[in-house]
């Protein structure tokens, strides 16, 4: 990863990702925070592209930037009288301290460790190999994930169903 285009893309995308993640913390309006969160998700998707992870990048755009952020927006507009000022609780300073400590620890470990770097280039394309792995080696977790999604869907519908709609209470 030495060519100028990839290096420039990495720095621009890393700045967008980290900058909008920090803006999620800083802005004082929850809706604006969600917009910056979507920008951060898209930056991560771009970083996946620079890592030649095409399938994961598309899944990131579809699921995180699409589905999860819409879900978060729905939760905000469905709770109209809740506070929207994106404020902190009394745990603000301990949380800041802990987050800085954890960030420095992970960063120091990742810089200090001598990783076994492979000399190979990026992947040509990953979707077919991921598909084959999902249906051969990882078929059991794949099926369990489908059951989990079904359970989550039924559970979410059951939880927010209007009261008394199926004869309960």
């Amino acid at each position: 990863m030495d060519d100028t285009g990839t290096v420039a893309a990495f720095w621009i995308l890393a700045t967008i990702t980290v900058g909008s993640a920090l803006m999620v913390v800083a802005v004082r309006n929850l809706i604006h925070a969600v917009v910056f969160l979507i920008l951060s998700f898209l930056g991560v998707a771009g970083l996946y592209v620079t890592l030649s992870a095409d399938f994961v990048a598309v899944a990131q755009v579809l699921i995180y930037a699409g589905a999860v952020s819409v879900l978060i927006l729905f939760a905000i507009v469905l709770t109209p009288r809740a506070g929207r000022d994106n404020a902190e609780t009394f745990l603000r300073l301990p949380a800041l301290l802990l987050a800085v400590l954890v960030g420095f620890t992970i960063g120091f470990i990742s810089l200090d460790t001598d990783w076994a770097i492979a000399g190979r280039g990026g992947f040509e394309e990953t979707a077919s190999a991921i598909g084959e792995a999902l249906l051969s080696k990882y078929v059991l977790p794949f099926e369990m994930a489908s059951v989990l999604l079904l359970v989550a869907m039924v559970g979410a519908i059951l939880l927010v169903r209007p009261e008394g709609s199926a004869g309960e209470e």
């Binding site: 980290v18 991560v44 589905a67 949380a95 987050a99 960030g103 990742s110 990953t126 979410a156 927010v160």
Partner: protein, 104 residues
């Protein structure tokens, strides 16, 4: 100047720390959930970076794991936001410091 594994790991570390702060300090439950999603993203980025750079017999396993993490995170977000709406219906608030029913 080249971009290596460490660059991605440091970006992942900053994202994770930001998400941790959001999850611990935000008052609105939706803000807490946004922090959790950011932490998922940081971990996924680290997985994909290791899969791209580090010596391995099956390098695409990292991508498969990221697909599973995304699946579980989507299911978690759906259930958590349903819970938030449910709490709002009974308590008229989703501020985590005012949902203290279990506090003695």
């Amino acid at each position: 100047m080249s971009v290596g594994l460490e660059h991605y790991l440091v970006v992942g570390a900053i994202l994770f720390a930001t998400g941790l702060y959001l999850a611990l300090a935000k008052r609105n439950f939706v803000g807490v959930l946004m922090g959790i999603e950011l932490m998922f993203n940081a971990v996924n980025l680290t997985f994909v970076a290791f899969s791209r750079f580090v010596e391995s017999a099956a390098p695409l396993s990292g991508h498969v794991f990221v697909v599973f993490v995304i699946t579980v995170a989507a299911a978690e977000a759906a259930v958590a936001l349903a819970l938030a709406v449910l709490v709002y219906r009974t308590r008229e608030t989703i501020d985590v410091d005012r949902i203290d029913l279990l506090k003695w």
